[in-house]
Amino acid sequence: MIPFRTSRRRCLLQAGGALASGLLLPRVPAAAQPPFAADSVYQVQATLYDARGAVFDWRTQHGHPLLVSMFYSQCEVVCPTIFETIRMSLEALPAGSAQHTRVLMVSFDSARDDPAALRAAARAHACDARWTLAGGRPTEVRRISAALDIPFRRLPGGGFNHATAILLLDAEGRIVARSAQLGRPDPALSNALLTLDPPAPPPGGDQR
């Protein structure tokens, strides 16, 4: 990325990022090995860290439906609305649905959204256990933005110019739905969620 003048905090973050990537050089972001389908976004590898500072490969999110978007914690208007829209979408579903669905929010802001900032953002938006807030080095975040087609640009003042989108991935990482509608649940997204993760059938069933 653009090598701006380095602050000490950036140095520490980069050091953390270096640890996060395992200092694996040269590292080739190679095509993923099976079983990811050819149209899965998990063909794109990226190393992130979560709000606890734990490093993970974002491809480990496979195996369950995933609502995913991107944000940055200093964003005052649109990004909080993304959080709110996702929450409303989940709450508006019939009881018992979306039991397996999780949420991943990836920060654009490699410089400032360290684990502590992610924890603060999670608290601010009342994120429960199904939410993962994550950050990464600029190259990892750029790769996520490319995989999800969420363009973004860092502004000189430290903010970000970015597209807004909420994506729904199936368990294999295929993009099932995409919405730019904020402020209220998008019916198309909600229907796709219901299809992927419907309410569990009642136990026992009718034995007559």
């Binding site: 990325m1 653009i2 090598p3 701006f4 003048r5 380095t6 270096a18 640890l19 990537s21 395992g22 200092l23 694996l24 050089l25 040269p26 590292r27 080739v28 972001p29 190679a30 095509a31 993923a32 990811f36 050819a38 149209d39 899965s40 976004v41 063909q43 794109v44 190393t47 490093v55 993970f56 490969d57 480990t60 964003c75 208007v77 649109v78 990004c79 609305t81 190259t139 750029r142 790769r143 933005s145 490319a146 995989a147 087609d149 363009p151 973004f152 640009r153 860092r154 502004l155 000189p156 003042g157 903010g159 970000f160 110019n161 970015h162 597209a163 807004t164 730019a180 904020l182 402020g183």
Partner: protein, 282 residues
Amino acid sequence: MMRIGLYGAAWLLLVMAGVLTPPPAAAAAAATGAAYVNIPGGRFISVLPQGDTPASAGPVDVAPFRMRADPVSVAEYADFLRRYPEWRRDRVAGTLADKGYLGSWAGPDDPAQPAHTGAGPDALAPVTEVSWYAASAFCAAEDARLPAWIEWEYVAAADATRTDARADPAWRSTILEWYEHRDPTPAAAAASRRPDVYGVRALHGAIWEWVEDFNALFIAGDSRTQGDPDKLAFCGAGALSVVDRENFPVLMRIALLASLRAADTTRHLGFRCARDIRPESP
């Protein structure tokens, strides 16, 4: 030393957990012999506004870095495929490269087969028909990265004797001439390959080139979308407008890159790599 040991242990654990793949035996990947040149840093005004508002042109400090003197060639990319066969066109996933990936090559890992005279691209020509993911992977394999847009633009502003020739109408006119001709004359092609003041060649005329932040270049067609807080499709003061509308060669490149997605390939889009310069230890 302890920290190195900790990092090494962490890496080993991640490898064993299957999260990371170990470097291939050809860690001599870095020893491809590709020529990189030093690009000294400097203050630069981009055609894309870098100021506090979408329309203001603030100067940017471009830190020193190293850049490949030439675009990555077909032969170099074929060598990359031999070391990383998962990037062959018959093996790579469609998410990472579209159907046009290496489409002109005679074989999945060989640009030209001996039995087919004239088939496939010239081995020394810049490789094209590669996606952003593929280009990024190639650069990572030689311990490098794609250049940022501002780095590419900074170097591309130079001519044979000046680091910034953009104010010279003759420079702009020469470059526009190259773009006007899909198949440049041998003289024009040779001219585009002459090194600039840094020793970098063929930044203009031959091919378009990927940059690391290709999807940071979204620009508005007009000024009506600027500063519209209700436009929730874009957060952060809307899309960019360009500062310098006279620099058509650069504007054309921005327009192309801004229209692409990471898996896209085109016949005239290639790339070159860049490297950070490690900071001096105090």
